[in-house]
């Protein structure tokens, strides 16, 4: 044990002091309680094994979140590669219903898109987040997870981009459908409502 480790940062307190925060961080991204629990466990185990590399001035929470970020990125990669039976991978040409109904045969939008006005104002409204969660829940689980993770990945974009180019799944198609689906869902359940 090294002297950099202050008492309050001692591993026996990690779970009590940081477990909740790690869990919420993971849950916000993985959208699945079980996966989030696993990510927390993997993170703390990895941290325990490499605790000699922790330097106190970076802050324990920051260090643990950094490890968790890597675990979540791994999950994204696994998700992007594996094709679960209950959430099949879309072929590039088989249209989903939302996309099909959004465009005419000649490739034009089938109707004028609603003006979302000042969408930032929605962010102030508590009800908006309820609707957004519900819209996300309507997407296939893996699609929603990949979309959320993708939009939240601030770092390593170039690396991810190169990886995406060689994934065997139609990641771009899935992300496109996620956007089209969410857009339509918000159009119907939020923008329409807000306008009366």
């Amino acid at each position: 044990m090294t002297q950099v480790e202050a008492d309050k940062d001692s591993p026996e307190y990690w779970l009590d002091d940081h477990g909740g925060a790690l869990y919420r961080y993971a849950l916000a991204r993985l959208r699945d309680a079980h996966r989030a629990e696993e990510a927390v466990q993997e993170t703390l185990l990895a941290a325990l094994q490499s605790r000699d590399r922790f330097s106190a001035h970076s802050g324990l929470r920051t260090w643990l979140i950094g490890i968790l970020k890597h675990k979540i990125l791994d999950q994204f990669r696994r998700d992007a590669r594996e094709i679960p039976l209950d959430d099949p991978d879309p072929g590039p040409d088989d249209e989903d219903a939302v996309v099909a109904s959004s465009f005419r045969a000649d490739g034009h939008w089938s109707s004028r898109l609603a003006d979302w006005g000042d969408p930032e104002a929605s962010l102030e409204n508590g009800q908006f987040w309820v609707v957004l969660q519900r819209c996300l829940d309507l997407l296939p689980k893996r699609m929603a997870r990949l979309f959320v993770l993708r939009e939240l990945q601030e770092e390593a974009t170039e690396q991810i981009c190169q990886e995406m180019a060689i994934t065997p799944t139609n990641l771009w198609t899935m992300l496109y459908r996620a956007r089209m689906g969410l857009r339509q869902c918000l159009d119907r359940n939020w923008v329409g409502e807000a306008r009366g």
């Binding site: 979302w116 969408p119 959320v148 992300l175």
Partner: protein, 89 residues
């Protein structure tokens, strides 16, 4: 150059969030957006969705009264962490 359709433009708008578009795609899209009000709206909506996802995550992770690590999971993790080859190896 043939003008791209709205459907093609919407694909590029989405793909452009992930990876840089080619020069040709960028110019084609720019031209289309210049002429197409609907696709400009779509682009704004797609950007807004990204912002909303980031804010949604921030709300969840900073909400101290938000979801808690379930007690059973906490116990399981405690076992895995601190029993056997635990902290004082």
């Amino acid at each position: 150059m043939k003008m791209m359709t709205c459907k093609e433009a919407s694909h590029l708008i989405s793909a452009g969030r992930e990876c840089p578009l080619s020069r040709r795609e960028r110019w084609g899209l720019r031209l289309h957006l210049w002429l197409c009000d609907n696709c400009r709206r779509f682009e704004r909506q797609v950007r807004f969705l990204g912002l909303a996802m980031r804010m949604l995550a921030r709300r969840t992770e900073t909400d101290a009264s938000g979801p808690e690590l379930p007690p059973e999971a906490r116990e399981r993790i405690r076992q895995a962490l601190y029993s056997g080859d635990g902290a004082d190896r």
